[in-house]
């Protein structure tokens, strides 16, 4: 299937589109849960890149690093969601703009 599959450039373009959508989501949304979901989108886009290049170069490193990125994403989601829950307990809101104590 690898030979018949679409080219690496097509995968890179799809990955770039997903990454851009995730970045826009991180910047423009105010709901903190949605921001965390957009971060997961960006990590996933990077995984697409790694797997595409792993197939092109015929090397397993890309897939191994994709697995590590999935691990990091799981830990990041757990800690981030715990922070969101704690913020909601303190402030009764999960709006990003409301949490500005460190804003100086």
């Amino acid at each position: 299937m690898v030979e018949a599959a679409p080219s690496t450039a097509a995968y890179l373009m799809l990955s770039g589109t997903l990454f851009t959508v995730g970045l826009i989501g991180v910047i423009i949304r105010r709901n903190m849960i949605t921001v965390l979901m957009a971060i997961e989108l960006m990590l996933n886009a990077v995984n697409i890149n790694l797997v595409a290049f792993s197939a092109r170069l015929g090397s397993l490193e890309g897939q191994v690093f994709a697995i590590f990125i999935i691990t990091v994403a799981a830990g990041e989601a757990a800690v981030g969601l715990a922070i969101i829950i704690q913020l909601y307990r303190l402030r009764s809101t999960i709006n990003v703009d409301e949490a500005r104590e460190l804003n100086g």
Binding site: Y11, V21, I27, E40, L41, I67, A73, A77, R91
Partner: protein, 214 residues
């Protein structure tokens, strides 16, 4: 147009559309479900590139674990109690500008045809398991073609053993951190004197304090 390209176009379109819906839905539950759709589409793309194991991990960890975590938190935080508010943050114009700039940048770097020639035996290489063992003082190297899972396992547990252990340590630390951060902390006096029904019913610390009359 080959069938593989057709499948790629369909799945890719669904993935991009679902990702746009993720960041445009008002209700976080809807966002989470569209994120699930995106993850499944990406898993299909992984399998199309010969990465069966990563595709399976994607479905198990992302679609199974992380998504359940998100839905749990969405349901812990009662969304209906949140005030009606704007979805977009104050600097949404800047966000779209940055996104557009990054999009143009990425697409000017990736030119179609620039990466057109994969190595001839790349598909077999992704399934090749190479083992090394010492027999009668000689190092014997052997290569055989197996499944993608076995090849990834050999790479993960032999060549990348130390990073793998570090990743497991990272997961342990992340778990401890999530538990410590997410714990509800009341002061000792409150825990002593608060009636049980208030502690059970109140969702936030603020509500506990209000129940005590400020």
């Amino acid at each position: 147009m080959t069938p593989a390209l057709l499948i790629f176009l369909i799945i890719g379109t669904v993935a991009v559309a679902a990702s746009i819906l993720v960041i445009s839905m008002r209700n976080p539950v809807h966002s989470a479900l569209f994120l699930l759709l995106t993850f499944l589409c990406v898993a299909v793309l992984f399998v199309m590139k010969g990465a069966e194991f990563v595709g399976a991990v994607q479905v198990l960890v992302y679609a199974g674990g992380i998504m359940v975590l998100f839905l749990f938190v969405v349901m812990l935080i009662n969304v209906r109690h949140l005030p009606e508010e704007r979805v977009l943050s104050a600097f949404w114009k800047g966000g779209f500008a940055v996104g557009l700039a990054l999009f143009i940048l990425l697409f000017s770097v990736v030119r179609p045809g620039a990466y057109a020639d994969p190595a001839a035996d790349s598909e077999t290489k992704l399934k090749t398991v190479s083992t090394t063992r010492v027999r009668r003082g000689h190092v014997v190297r052997r290569q055989r073609v197996e499944g993608n899972s076995e090849a990834v396992a050999m790479a993960l547990y032999r060549d990348y053993l130390v990073p793998f252990e570090v990743a497991s340590l990272f997961l342990l630390v992340a778990m401890i951190g999530a538990i410590v951060i997410g714990k509800r902390e009341l002061s000792a006096v409150e825990e002593e004197t608060a009636p049980d029904f208030i502690l059970e019913r109140a969702e936030t610390e603020k509500e506990v304090k209000e129940a005590f009359g400020g």
